[in-house]
């Protein structure tokens, strides 16, 4: 059983593995760290073109914001897209964390959870850089969101817990069933569209009166923890308002529940990792 003392002793390892992820990621690429920004920007451009120009959709979100016109949608989009990319990359990287490091798992002992921690931390560093750039852009366009900074950081921390929990669960399962990674590919696509990233949640008001098993469809929709996260980012960064507290509580609950469940499954399957890999 991994003890707390061991986790403490492994802090440096966590740091070094995170550095390895970060350094290895953009080594030998000319643009290097810029890729971390180019990817979401390209997506934002693409969605803006498809929905704003081709469909002429009225996506400009309404609310407590001074932003309008052509800049509003891409900025809105990025507020949700960056955290979404954090989740998606975290899940994709997490699934492979054990399999990709099988040489390590089979030859050296260390708390294996560290690999998932390093995966999340490396992506967290990218996220913070990306969010900083977005934050500056928002300020330049007149969205003064700075008062929400502490809470935004808390939400990011919560999301990291959530991502780590999923990573623990999926990486362990993937050791036994390699299809997990394929399922997850499809699952992430569905999940993306079921989360109000590219559209404002207000667009869903029209399904509020539709019911399934006597419960509003919107309620089902809001059970998605990522909805809570993305909504909070939208509310604070874009609409400049304090998030609904029930969203915050729900996200907190989901994050720690996910971590506990992921850790439970991980620990259950851990003893045979070295021989199953």
């Amino acid at each position: 059983m991994t003890t707390l003392a061991e986790y403490r002793a492994s802090r440096e390892l966590l740091g070094n593995l995170t550095q390895r992820e970060l350094r290895g990621k953009y080594k030998r690429s000319a643009l290097g760290w810029a890729w971390s920004l180019i990817n979401p920007l390209a997506l934002a451009l693409m969605f803006t073109f498809v929905f704003g120009v081709v469909f002429q959709a009225r996506l400009a979100p309404v609310g407590n914001t001074d932003l309008e016109g052509i800049t509003a949608y891409p900025l809105f989009l990025l507020c949700g897209l960056l955290p979404w990319a954090f989740l998606a990359n975290g899940v994709n990287g997490g699934i492979g964390a054990l399999v990709a490091n099988s040489n390590l798992v089979k030859k050296v002992y260390f708390p294996r959870e560290i690999l998932l921690g390093a995966n999340t931390l490396a992506l967290l560093v990218s996220l913070l850089i990306e969010m900083s750039v977005l934050g500056v852009a928002l300020l330049l366009f007149g969205n003064i969101w700075l008062q929400f900074l502490p809470l935004i950081l808390v939400v990011i921390a919560l999301q990291s817990v959530f991502v780590t929990g999923i990573g623990l669960l999926l990486s362990a399962l993937n050791v036994y069933f390699r299809d997990v990674q394929h399922f997850v590919g499809i699952g992430l696509q569905l999940w993306f569209y079921a989360t109000p990233v590219i559209y404002p949640i207000t667009l869903l008001d029209n399904i509020a009166d539709r019911e399934f098993l006597g419960i509003s469809l919107l309620t089902f929709y809001k059970l998605n923890p990522m909805t809570a996260f993305v909504e909070m980012y939208h509310q604070m960064l874009f609409f400049l308002q304090w998030p609904d507290w029930e969203l915050f509580l729900y996200a907190t609950f989901c994050s720690f529940a996910m971590l506990a469940f992921g850790l439970y499954v991980f620990k259950k399957l851990e003893p045979r990792f070295a021989e199953e890999l």
Partner: protein, 409 residues
Amino acid sequence: MTALVSTARTAGKDRGTAVRVEGVSKRFRLYQERNQTLKAAMMRGGRATYEDFWALRDVSFEIPTGGVFGLIGQNGSGKSTLLKCMARILTPDEGRITVDGKISALLELGAGFHQELSGRENVYLNGSILGLTRKEIDRKFDEIVDFAGLDHFIDTPVKNYSSGMYVRLGFSVAINVDPDVLLVDEVLAVGDEAFQRKCDEKFADLRDAGKTIVVVSHSLSTVRTMCDEAAWLEHGVVKEIGVPGLLIEKYVENTHVERVAAEHGGSQWGSGEARVEKVELLDEHGAPVLRVRAGAPATLRFHYQTQGPIVKPVFGFGIHRIDGTHATGVNSRETIVPDRIEGTGHVDFAMASLPLVQGSYDVTVAVVDDSNLHTFDYRTKALRFDVGSGRPREAEGVFAIDGRWSFED
């Protein structure tokens, strides 16, 4: 592995226990069809077809603190599994292993190196994987690089390293972890001669510092020279524990492949008027054997058959180690040349003590005439025999030099 000079054996008293193995069993699943896809799992109702294979069965023993402990056994005897259980890479299904102090395992060198990162970055990464703090690595960095002999290349990505450099750096990091218990699996033979010597010294240092080293090796001479104590595993069970010398003797005795007198791809040529039909090795009692102990009395017997009388034949033989090294070659010309032989008979070459060191050897035999111009028969690999350890118990090379040690103040 060159022999460690340090032969001082620590007394077995007053020592604690470094590793305690209690009733450890480890089961592996040998899958006939592996459910590595979910579809396969569902089609078989979640049940994969596998057989249980017990790599370790109720293994219990203690390794005392300080000194070198060896694990010997044939392939599949479970020794590496046991080592991995000690290193906590594998989890035993039953029983438990307690290790006193910090443990480090040399199972694969450079495991966890990142190809794109430089040697320097990898030292820090690998060091922390092995449990070193940044400060400790800072302190030992020069020593590590120096030990690996990589001063000029330390800032080069490791993917550009030669395999030797890669392994040396891996070894250097691992050995500098300064563990209380070091587990070593067959990785002793890395690098060139000079690096080998450095490794040997490092092991000797650790041992002198009262650390515990557990070695798994196929090289019996390594175990013999390095270890203070050894355990012999067979089919996942501890067969015996004891002093390496005696233990290895029993082990070799027990696992020795019975040699059948067979052709070993030798060739034969010559005019054929006289032929050596058979070569035999006789032990001290005159019984034909295929295995003798080093230093024991032995006789080589050459059975011949002629077509008609042969005048003044000379018998000669050579002994080669099976790797081809020519150990010796003698003939009967200078000592005794019979005037003539005819029909069947035999010639003996008796040795009061066989001077060969342990190993396997081939005998080449020839019958020529007195002038050495005419070869009646020449047979290579006419006999293959084994020499077991005997007197001396430890010897290297081809033949055991005869002599006597004495010591005066």
